[in-house]
Subunit: 207 residues, 2 copies
């Protein structure tokens, strides 16, 4: 692992895009891509932990996404459940944020909608599952994502240069780095490239 | 003018960054850069109008920015007032959005905090003046920027890959294009480059 970074973001947000394009490129069904997005998430999680990143937020799936065909919807729901379950066997302060009142929210993840500590809990991991930005902002009693802190760096895989509704408030000052590689093709070098770029960004928080 | 674009964004947001760096590069005082950012705005406005863009939003200055030294603050306030006044002599449905209750809001712009039509009003022009994203979202009676529509394309000059608090809700699905050139060095070619790139972006609105 590289550990030569002089500046490590406290909180990294990840938009793991490109699963469906990756599957199609391989002659697979679109929905088959999500399964291949699980392991990259753990590779990234381990790197973050080793580098001392304090908080990691993963964009699982959104209420917008649930309008996709059933086969895809079931595939990304299953991938999220599997990822969260695997995380409970590692070290994390885990929080799942999403609209639990909709049938699209996987019931298996209900126990994690309050932050739960697993292992030594050295890193906060937030998972957005059946998340919607409007749902978040218009939540009764304050933002639904209020326990997620401001993000310093957002890394998006899959080439699109947009936020796609990812935590509008926590992303206001984030530096945004886009990688063209599709998420299932994750390599540590891609992550390091984003961190290298981040070294030279000034932080002004809008000032 | 080029008019070969098959797809024109309805609403373009502009972050005109780099005025201070531009001034410093020329041995000028930081605040002197803002004056040189006015004419580029009108060049861009004319191009948008000719291309049939329906709405254009310019990020003037923010409540965060007002913490800068007085010389800079006065300079960007003056530049915003001058830009808006010039616009009243052109064609626009003009709306200024910002916190009018703070002394940092230029009083000359109060008449434009409700949308006003000038000329043939073929384009909505929104100017954010003393704008704050928290102020916007927590505004009593709904978002302060509720009369500004969702943005399709955000173009940022000056190389920073971030939103810096620019309309968090209207930017959720926007494609974001960053140009390394500093704003006072604006050239039509830079705008066309952003539009060329936009041609090939798929629009999913998060779906």
């Amino acid at each position: 692992m590289r550990n030569s970074f002089k500046r490590i973001p406290n909180h990294i947000g990840v938009i793991p895009d490109g699963n469906r394009r990756w599957a199609v490129e391989r002659g697979m069904k679109k929905g088959d891509g999500y399964y291949h997005g699980i392991d990259p998430g753990f590779q990234l999680y381990e790197l973050c932990k080793e580098l001392g990143v304090k908080e990691l937020t993963l964009y699982g799936f959104t209420t917008d996404n649930t309008k996709r065909p059933a086969e895809q919807k079931e595939a990304f729901q299953k991938a999220c459940v599997e990822a969260v379950m695997d995380l409970t066997r590692r070290d994390a302060n885990l929080l799942v944020v999403g609209n639990t009142k909709s049938p699209s929210f996987p019931k298996e993840l209900l126990p994690f909608t309050e932050r739960v500590r697993f292992g030594d809990g050295t890193i906060n991991v937030n998972f957005l599952v059946n998340y919607g930005w409007e749902w978040d902002l218009n939540h009764k009693g304050g933002m639904a994502s209020r326990d997620i802190s401001r993000m310093d760096l957002i890394i998006r895989w899959g080439g699109r240069r947009r936020l796609s509704g990812f935590l509008p408030v926590q992303s206001v000052y984030a530096d945004i780095y886009v990688l063209d590689e599709l998420w299932p093709d994750f390599l540590p070098e891609q992550f390091y490239k984003a961190l290298d770029w981040y070294q030279d960004q000034d932080i002004t928080l809008g000032g």
